[in-house]
Symmetry: C3
């Protein structure tokens, strides 16, 4: 903290001059305005992904926990946004001497003295990214996690875990700097920075909180626990896909011609992911499974996120197709290890995020299969796991000690909607509670 309490307060209370001088704009001015418009539109699209995550998680879990899912998603954004405002943004993009994390800019304070409105546009785009990483965990720990524990966890990932790793890979986008980007790490829109961070935290959470009541029998054999509303899950996936155009193409944070290839790659990878996941499931399980196909589209989207700006379209197809296959295999393996991940978040975001980051190196335009690039990508993938998994594992363990993380068997049986919120999501329907 370079400034004292007085200056902090002054900055917080400072008037924001919104007077817009009505001068004749020149071309760079207009380009600057276009960058604002594009970034805010894209940030809005990424915000809307919160609705997508909520619908996916509601649809893929049981009716008796739907209200709890809603509250977790509403609150991980709301609490996360304030935590990122207060602490996270400064850690991620503040000035740093070490390259490990920023040390100023909390509450947007120091930055305000810049008088540069770009700060607000950039913060807006970053806060919805932080919220995406945070909300990924929600699905993996669904149906057996106490609400208060989840809220505490939200603060940890939004204020510390995500921003610190983010500063390594993206810090220089504002005032900061980062050791991973200095090495040449490629992760244009966050296969690793956002999705793997969320995925590995989801893995830690799912392990610490343990499987849902009844997920594994006394012999350790898994029992399928079906969701309750596939149309909402499908709607959620389509909202996510829609929002991903903001997520990937918006990561230019500039309105220019680069966004077109990014949108094309995003489309092709998602399509290939859906198709190849469906085909893989068809071969392995005998039917074109709906949930797997929907997750395949998400896998393709996560996969192309790192390389969307620097892959030729044919490689977007290959990256997405591979992600669609990988996600099916990964879901099976995660279950083999007796980790209960109700929506497949670890596989979709963690594993396919890692794959996408590798693919961005493998198929890098103009440097296909460069060993040096691939090495840096693998380093980044490893660094993410090494930072995120232990810290979030410890955080979940501490929260468990502090307030209790796992809902009792009775509460799980009755549903978290009842035990945590005194509510039911569908008071008017005859819902057959699946116990």
């Amino acid at each position: 903290m370079k400034i004292g309490v007085f200056l902090l307060l002054a900055a917080l209370l400072a008037g924001v001059d919104t007077a817009f001088a009505e001068e004749i704009p020149d071309a760079p001015d207009v380009q600057n305005n276009l960058n604002f418009v594009w970034t805010i539109v894209a940030a809005s699209l990424v915000f809307f992904m919160q609705a997508g995550f909520t619908m996916v998680e509601v649809g893929f879990t049981r009716a008796k926990n739907a209200s709890n899912i809603i509250m977790k998603n509403l609150m991980d954004f709301s609490i996360g946004a304030l935590a990122f405002w207060a602490i996270g943004f400064g850690l991620m993009f503040g000035a740093t001497n070490t390259g490990w994390f920023g040390t100023d800019g909390f509450f947007l304070s120091d930055f305000i003295t810049d008088s540069d409105p770009w700060l607000y546009a950039f913060w807006m785009f970053q806060v919805v990214f932080c919220a995406t990483a945070a909300t990924i965990i929600s699905g993996a720990v669904a149906e057996r996690t106490r609400f208060i524990g989840y809220l505490l966890y939200t603060v940890v990932i939004s204020a510390i875990v995500y921003p610190v790793f983010g500063s390594w890979a993206w810090g220089s986008l504002y005032h900061g700097q980062g050791w991973l980007e200095d090495l040449g790490f490629i992760d244009f829109a966050g296969s690793t920075v956002v999705h793997s961070v969320g995925g590995w935290a989801a893995l830690a959470g799912a392990i610490v909180v343990g499987p849902r009541l009844g997920k594994f029998n006394s012999k350790g054999e898994p029992k399928p626990i079906l969701g309750h509303n596939l149309p909402l899950a499908a709607l959620g996936v389509m909202i996510l896909w829609f929002g991903w155009y903001g997520f990937n193409a918006g990561s230019t944070t500039a309105g220019n011609s680069d966004i077109a290839l990014i949108a094309v790659n995003t489309t092709l990878a998602a399509a290939a992911g859906a198709i190849f996941a469906m085909v893989t499931a068809w071969i392995f399980y005998g039917v074109p499974d709906v949930g797997i196909s929907l997750n395949g589209a998400l896998a393709g989207l996560v996969g192309i996120t790192a390389g969307c700006a620097n892959l030729a379209p044919v490689f977007a197809v290959i990256t997405g197709a591979a992600a669609g296959i990988i996600v099916v295999i990964s879901v099976a393996i995660v279950e083999k290890f007796k980790v209960d991940d109700p929506v497949g978040a670890v596989s979709v975001h963690g594993v396919c995020g890692a794959w996408g980051t590798l693919a961005a190196g493998l198929f890098n335009s103009g440097n296909l299969f460069s060993a040096k690039i691939i090495g840096v990508q693998l380093l980044g993938i490893a660094a993410c796991f090494i930072w995120v998994f232990p810290t979030t594992y410890i955080a979940f363990k501490l929260i468990d000690k502090l307030v209790g993380l796992r809902a009792s068997d009775e509460d799980q049986y009755n549903g978290l909607d009842f035990s945590e919120h005194g509510a039911t999501a569908y008071p008017d329907f005859s819902v057959t509670m699946t116990h």
Copy 2:
């Protein structure tokens, strides 16, 4: 009307020259084009809020009235758009000598002679605002209002009530002028102009139509009537939040750097509103209630709407947090007065709209707590109530005389879907009709 019937017809039938001269654009041309793009994108987002209102109202009411909710929302937009085209826009933005309402521009006619395509962009943005004010009433009078009465009411608010107040506060945005704005009234995106107008009309409607069958027992004690689909309500809130970026940031009707702070403030206020409503409910009622938390997000959004462009972010947090607390208290008070508002529209839009308008004065950048500004804000808040509540109260009373506003007890018991539309929203489900 300055022109005669002949000219009116000529204007209506006039060819619209869409030829686009392929000259080399200069920077002001491009800025102008950017303003069109931003305004149309933002208007589209605000249109999408109609889906949000529909889902919120469907989710928070009973299954037997879901089709009726859908029809009210579809038709208040559709009829409202034509009424605003024919009459409302002219009243709101037409030329005026008095400052009370405009007197030309009906059917977009006089304006067409301008040959300025900006008219269309501006109208597009305004029509979705008008529709927002109109649709707020829908939830407050849900589950016991006859469809035909609601349709007539839609014409009244879209053609007269909203445009007249709008002309006082925003008339100068096009050809008009308005006495409130001349005094310095601050309501950047419509906490009062849109949300309080809708909220006070909702209050009038809820009083005139009376409470739902069974809402209060013979001793006047309230009975909770639960909604039927919280996931759809949550989706609706998230759609509204998403659309609000168009609502607030789009109110620049210009693509420039001002939109960034607006988006940041919108985000922080909504987040704070959700959190503080949840905490307030947790303290008062013992559980983190889902419906209250969702309404808290909306309260924060309504609250920041007036001041989004001229508040420092820390005050957006305060404004939103206060709105989240206020909405919980207000909902309890409204019920104490035996007014039945199924979705809390009066509190969310009316009361928090008033609070937001006051907050825009209290925390005004560079003029914190200025008595003069606060005075004008209070005047605007009062003027809104004094204009809207009596006129809409009379309108509802007249409609009641004319066609009958309240559905019979039997029709309420069977559901308006059956009595008004010969339909059920879920023919295939075993819905336990809550009577």
Copy 3:
């Protein structure tokens, strides 16, 4: 194919140069960037229409087929996107000597040598249009079509039927040319090119696959088969309306002032369509029917699509109102002919697409009721039917021979979710399966 296999591979593997020269942009550069931003935003909105179609079709059909509807919509986009990338785009916009279809540009290959990023933006906008045409069929053949047959059909329309007709009307938008546009055919955003193509293919599919089990009794009298979730259908319509602003206004593929009138016309036509369909149903059937009113809004949207850029607003109202009336009558007529179209796709997209194309000629700005223009419009409408209906009829017949198109009575009785996907969309609800 002008280039050999070697060049094709080279092009596919070519590095894409995304380096962005940080030069000072001039006004034409910025306008160019604005065109990219607008086109990608609009394309994203059109993509989101896929969610709209899915929700409409899910809502208007029975619960036992909801998963199948989801899979068809997910896959017609995914498979269609890859087919359009590989083949369709080249047929539609590739260079041509004949004016009948393009002969290069498959896999985006030849085009890449342009090094013009506009190719990507243009492809992105076109692929979501192709997907719109493809997905229209899904609803018309719902609840009795085998999944594998539908997938094959998706390839046919995305790779061949849609692109060939598209090349006639829109080929010159990129490298190609087309005989219909040479005659002066007006179809700005695709009333014929997209919606009638989809609608006539839907008609062919509905005829070949035959009516649903139980739709007509032994005397040939129709029996209503109700959908299962009107709120999702309503959400779908509102998503479609929202996306339509991208569909129509985005068809400028340039960020300029023309988009404002287009958005206004789109709004007015949709509103008028909803109102007039409701009134027509009220007169004919005695109630303001929900499904009909929702389809009325879509009919208005389809109707204004051809003429949205060159009609005065009053004619948008007339075009939409007429579409709202036409769709009610058309649905009744289609059923009279014993064609079973569960969602009314033939009427909404085929018939109202034809009406809209005619209306674009009738009310053409500056040339009201010109016989010459009307003649060309009628020729285009006829050409569409003559090309699409026979080719898709044959395609469905061939697919039927090849893999079997119609699900068995038993599978229809149990639901396609079970027979095709081994799933149920609502495992947790007591759904009363309507057989």
